[in-house]
């Protein structure tokens, strides 16, 4: 099918301000938007800069706005968009460095701020084997272990657009993953961090995060569970 692809362009070494380049191309409805951008690089304009790696939705490199909504470019097919006019822009709320590449540092700083790692100083089992965990205990936090840190959620969040100091949904998801892990001992610490000024209370449940998550994580639900744990002081 014939499509019209508009791509956000900005080269900091040449451009004063961003522009959109338009490409008319013949594509397969089963093509990924990432494929279209690769066609641009191969056949139209090789200077287009974007991040991509695994190309099937597990590495989290290519989160971008497609027709105004966050997706992984490798997980949205042309036919899913239901139109032959496709506009691709960088994710919103992080500084654009070049074309579709944004500065991810603030995002990873927020991630780091919630202690995203297992903390348990208790002695390991004497037999050197695994710490036991029932299937139910594992399922309690399994959903939030799926996060690939692509930033599609955080950059779809109205609270993050208006204040980049907000830790954002991705960081809360990763805190949730440890808070509700029966093997972790620092849930209280994380809840105190998330109870602060830039923590969970900035969430206004606009729900864009959950809609944007390419891994189908129930993000708003996870945030609500963290809010509840902060309020009750009980991790259950």
């Amino acid at each position: 099918m014939q499509i019209k692809l508009r791509v956000f362009r900005f080269d900091p070494e040449r451009d004063q301000k961003p522009r959109f380049d338009t490409f008319m191309m013949d594509v397969d409805p089963n093509d990924r938007v990432l494929d279209l951008l690769e066609y641009v690089k191969a056949d139209f304009d090789s200077t287009l800069a974007l991040r991509r790696s695994c190309a099937h939705g597990v590495c989290g490199s290519d989160a971008m706005r497609v027709n105004g909504r966050n997706y992984l470019a490798c997980k949205v097919l042309v036919k899913n968009l239901g139109t032959d006019q496709i506009t691709v822009e960088p994710i919103l709320g992080l500084k654009v460095i070049k074309d579709l590449i944004v500065d991810m540092k603030p995002f990873f700083d927020h991630y780091r701020s919630v202690l995203p790692y297992l903390i348990n100083d208790d002695p390991l089992p004497a037999d050197g084997k695994e710490r036991l965990q029932s299937p139910e205990q594992q399922l309690r936090f399994e959903d939030t272990t799926k996060c690939i840190l692509c930033a599609a959620c955080t950059t779809s969040c109205p609270s993050f657009w208006s204040d980049a100091n907000y830790v954002g949904p991705a960081a809360i998801v990763n805190a949730h993953r440890f808070i509700f892990d029966s093997r972790d001992k620092a849930g209280g610490k994380r809840l105190n961090i998330l109870n602060e000024q830039f923590g969970v209370w900035r969430c206004r449940t606009a729900f864009n995060c959950t809609e944007a998550c390419p891994r189908d994580i129930h993000i708003t639900q996870a945030i609500a569970e963290v809010k509840r744990a902060v309020n009750t002081g009980r991790i259950e």
Binding site: S134, R202, G233, R234, I235
Partner: protein, 128 residues
């Protein structure tokens, strides 16, 4: 493996935003009957064209309505002003500016609530 999943208890230091968040929700549950009742009665059923000063005075002086209106004043305006504070929280990033705005909002809230409260409490019915 049998696990009796005991909820882990942790200590979380109270935070103003947390209290405000909770306040917004609990006050909302109360406000819905109060505010809807008020607006349906005054704006729809009675209608501004049928409201006169005497009507207003008598209504405000009635003990039942007085309690109703005081509850409405207390909950609705505090809920609203905290909502405004949260909205500003999103857009104002400098802590000093935000502190200043919060203080202004607090003063405005206090003054207006005070004016309303005096009027409500002090009013006497007109005898006609």
């Amino acid at each position: 493996m049998t696990t009796t999943t005991q909820p882990e208890k942790v200590v979380v230091k109270k935070n103003f935003d947390q209290v405000a968040w909770t306040w917004m929700r609990y006050s909302a549950f109360l406000l819905i009957p109060l505010a809807w009742g008020h607006i349906i009665l005054q704006d729809v059923v009675v209608g501004v064209h049928n409201i006169t000063t005497d009507y207003a005075i008598n209504r405000m002086a009635n003990m039942g309505w007085k309690i109703y209106d005081i509850a409405l004043l207390g909950f609705a305006f505090a809920h609203g002003m905290n909502g405004v504070r949260q909205v500003f929280r999103d857009y104002i990033h400098k802590p000093e500016t935000f502190r200043l705005v919060s203080i202004i909002l607090l003063v405005v809230w206090f003054l207006i609530t005070l004016v309303g409260a005096i009027a409500l409490l002090a009013i006497q019915p007109v005898v006609s």
